[in-house]
């Protein structure tokens, strides 16, 4: 025992790692220089959809055409390991209390991100949504095409997801936990987090939407708009996003002017 118990207690406190996520799984802003709300009244919120690994596996396989030898149980096992690891670390534990969606991405190499997103992934989101909700619509309001228009924000770590896909099928968890961050603040925040966190871009966000087509469907309140935060548009301060319109799902483009809005959200991804 030290002569001064108080000092020991202070040392203990100092060494206790601070949680990176709040009790709702929101990523606590670590003072990014870009615009972010430090508090939230959680007015725009995503409700956790039911996670049934078998159904998600079938949906992604059917609509995205993931081929190869990964089985449903292998997908579940790898996804659960991701959650377990996050839960074992007191800094990251709380992210698993928030909204979380497991996904698989195919092994693939694409010459152009925007072209692949439009031709393969948005089409699969549409099919998955229509399949689950034939009475509602998925509408891509952006009619001018995405080929040649999208690039990966260098600090977002999203390039690592693309590299992982080039090597093999990728299993991951998607967490829409950067609520009320501006797009640049989301990028800064991802960079400040432990190494396993990547900012979500197009392929992973689409995979989460294919896995759970009702992710943004709410009848009792409004879900946030979901930016593809790791992707830069063809112009500065322009981004692409998913957004609910009533019971329908939309994809669109919008200038964000580096501003923060209560309505805006981006996702983090952890691969496993």
């Amino acid at each position: 025992m030290t002569p001064n118990g108080l000092v020991l207690e202070e040392c203990d406190l100092a060494e206790k790692p601070l949680p990176l996520f709040d009790e709702h799984g929101r990523c606590i802003p670590s003072k990014p220089t870009a615009a972010v709300h430090s508090n939230t009244r959680r007015y725009f919120a995503i409700v956790q959809p039911e996670i049934e690994y078998g159904d998600i596996y079938k949906r992604i396989k059917k609509h995205l055409g993931v081929s190869g030898d990964i089985t449903a149980s292998e997908f579940e096992r790898r996804a659960e390991v991701i959650l377990q690891k996050l839960q074992n670390d007191p800094r990251t534990k709380k992210i698993t209390d928030g909204v979380r969606i497991p996904f698989i991405l195919p092994k693939a190499t694409y010459a152009d991100y925007g072209d692949a997103l439009e031709r393969i992934y948005l089409k699969a989101v549409r099919d998955s949504f229509n399949n689950k909700f034939p009475q509602y619509d998925f509408v891509n309001h952006h009619k001018d095409g995405l080929a040649g228009k999208l690039s990966i924000a260098p600090e977002s770590r999203h390039a690592r997801l693309v590299e992982a896909m080039q090597k093999d099928q990728a299993v991951g968890y998607f967490f829409p936990c950067l609520t009320e961050y501006s797009v640049p603040a989301a990028i800064e925040q991802a960079e400040a987090l432990p190494d396993q966190f990547l900012l979500a871009g197009g392929f992973d966000t689409c995979a989460a939407m294919i896995a759970t087509p009702d992710l943004l469907l709410r009848t009792d309140g409004y879900p946030p708009l979901l930016w593809l935060g790791a992707l830069q548009g063809e112009k500065e301060q322009v981004g692409y996003h998913f957004e609910a319109y009533g019971y329908n799902l939309t994809f669109n483009r919008k200038p964000h002017f580096n501003q923060v809005a209560e309505y805006w959200c981006a996702g983090l991804v952890v691969l496993g």
Binding site: H37, R41, L225, V238, Y245, G246, N252
Partner: protein
Amino acid sequence: MMISTSEATQNKLTPAEQARREGLMARKPYIAAKLAAISAMEERGEISPIIRLEKSYLCNFQCTHCSAEYYMDRHKKKVFKIADARRKIDLSDIRELSRQADELGLARFVITGGEPLVMKDFDEVVEAIDPEKHYVIADTNGWFLDDKRARHLKSIGVEKVQLSLDSFIEQDHDSFRNKPGSYKRVMRAIDASLDAGLNLLLSTVLVKGRAKTEEFLNLCKFATEKCVGLYVSYAKPTGSCSDHPEFVIDKEDADILRELEKDYNVFTHMTPTYGSFKGCITVKGIITVTSTFEVTPCPYIDFSLGNLRETSLKEVLARGMRNPWLGPYRPDCLIGEDQKFIKIHMEKTKGVTHLPVPWGQGFSDADSLFD
């Protein structure tokens, strides 16, 4: 108020809209060019709200859901036993507003009230706005809009008429508007406006539960068959509706309407136009200039962003855009759906005799979404 004239297009225009725009370009190229520039302005982060001008609150109706009732002299006399001694706007104020708006690239004025067609100086107001510089719309209950008046409106430069029709069932419309015969007058006004070559919009207030009714469906069908847009505004817990909380819609009503938009020519100002989503258009898409030259961010929000006698339109708009309730993009109706804002609004407007609540007492630069 609608924003269907928005030029923010990524998708193709309908042939009818294309023809309307070409017609305007031929007759009023200056206005057409300003309208065509709006999407580029928005892409740069600039705004081009429609200006609703409430020069006078005189009205020949007394509607159950009127958002302007608390601004009216008759209300102040009856409820507060007072007269409003504040200075009112005159034609030179309107000319100055028109000039400032033009300088900022704004292009659209709606003359509303009250009932604009009872205003003795309506023609002078149109002239002061300058219909060669701004697209002018009259928002009317239609009572006085016969063939002759419709042709006259067209001749003085009014481009569009927005006619209120609150039920497709005659008795219901008349009783909602507390004016027997008003339904028939609206029907007359529809034909008169179309015959005079005015663009026409029907407007209707959606009260809770109405979206599911056969009456509403029939109204949607009627408007669609007539090739006239049906602009829907939600009943809000303000104005006369403060006494009718049962009118205020919930998300289900709003979502049913969003589904009807797929099949009928029906929309709200939050309906995406040609792929452009605006959401709630406070400041970004609409402002109201009251009879005392105060600027409010929406017809239903009784907090001022400033008085144009003291503050320029540019600064007033900047105040609105940096306000956390008003500036950021949001998909819902701030005054109709956000309970926290509704509570703040109710508390701060309660018992206030002279609306809107001045800048600094309702809205201010210290506003926060959090307590």
